[in-house]
Symmetry: C2
Subunit: 242 residues, 2 copies
Amino acid sequence: MTRLMTPDELEAALRAIGDERYHIHHPFHHLLHGGKLTKGQVQAWALNRYYYQASIPAKDASLLARLPTPELRREWRRRLVDHDGDGVHPGGVERWLALTDGLGLDRDHVTSLRGLLPATRFAVDAYVRFVREMPLLDAIASSLTEMFSPTIISQRVSGMLASYDFVSEDTLAYFKPRLTQAPTDVAFALGYVKEHARTAAEQERVLAALRFKCDLLWAQLDALHHAYVSPGHIPPGAFRPA
Amino acid sequence: MTRLMTPDELEAALRAIGDERYHIHHPFHHLLHGGKLTKGQVQAWALNRYYYQASIPAKDASLLARLPTPELRREWRRRLVDHDGDGVHPGGVERWLALTDGLGLDRDHVTSLRGLLPATRFAVDAYVRFVREMPLLDAIASSLTEMFSPTIISQRVSGMLASYDFVSEDTLAYFKPRLTQAPTDVAFALGYVKEHARTAAEQERVLAALRFKCDLLWAQLDALHHAYVSPGHIPPGAFRPA
């Protein structure tokens, strides 16, 4: 059914998946960066997304554990430093908590995961398990949503700074380093899959892994939109804005 | 923080969770049995719920595999017979396909899982993994949503038969045996957790397992409601009614 693509054709096919499925096209993203959300709705987004951010090092560590060489492990170890920090410079998880702090959420509440939407937990856990259990090629390919993240981050930061008096450059400090970290990550991961997906079947697995990842980011915004925007049905036990 | 409950107090606490969180209280259920959905919306429900039905034997088999005695395994094996049939009498999975057939869905399409909402997959997979990975007590407790299922099934069947010209007693054949199977299942599982949850911590795990299960049933209806009712945002790649 599928023929072997050249590496550049594979990259183009990956980018086409982003054009169709990346959550930059989700209505909740448009509301968020367009300044259309209340503070309570932004809190719900930040609270739920914390679980995603906090789970990233777990997925990266389980991937790192399966990389075969010091060179490859050092490459992936950089992601752990980016997210967990070095004890002096805060990592991504800490910077995300600066956002939830800035939004007036109690830090113990955020890290306790009380009030998390069950759908957030299911989607994030599915990602961590995918990376842990699938072949290395699929696991690395699932990181390739970073190909599309500089654009969504730029939209978020400029839109949120312009629209909300309850955010500042300090509270959005998570995002700025990601604008340089993500392209570095992509350079490696995209090169890896272009080199290692050598059969049509392997290329199809790479594309499926990216679709899966796009779908789980999308599902997280679906759940937020359903609970907090329209129709606004908050599941039993989930966070309720004050 | 918690004190040891008597077995009957534990049962009352389990029932209280159902009162709060069982999906009989979900707006999508009210629309479904109240005759407020289009055929396409009912198709979307049946198509997605197929994945849940088809996954039940996997979770039951992984639970059975950890039961220590022939008596306990025979008890749980009955569930496999109920869902997979005996080669003569159709099981629950086959009867669910009679429903999707009756709704005009192509059987190969349904069983291929094409068009499944990603959120359905994440929630159902979370259930199968929970049962596979958690202690036996928690795994058995997570089946206890069956305590509440006869009522929701009665509402579904009578409401759907009265409201939709595209369903019949034949297409709803899945449900009737469940009205007697579920109470038999519950008699064992509820007795098991009442006997084996002997500390306050174990009782809290039993309650948490039932909350988890209610949440994942709820999340499945949230995803259907969001995609197909309000606001009606179907995720990329998911089933689109004709």
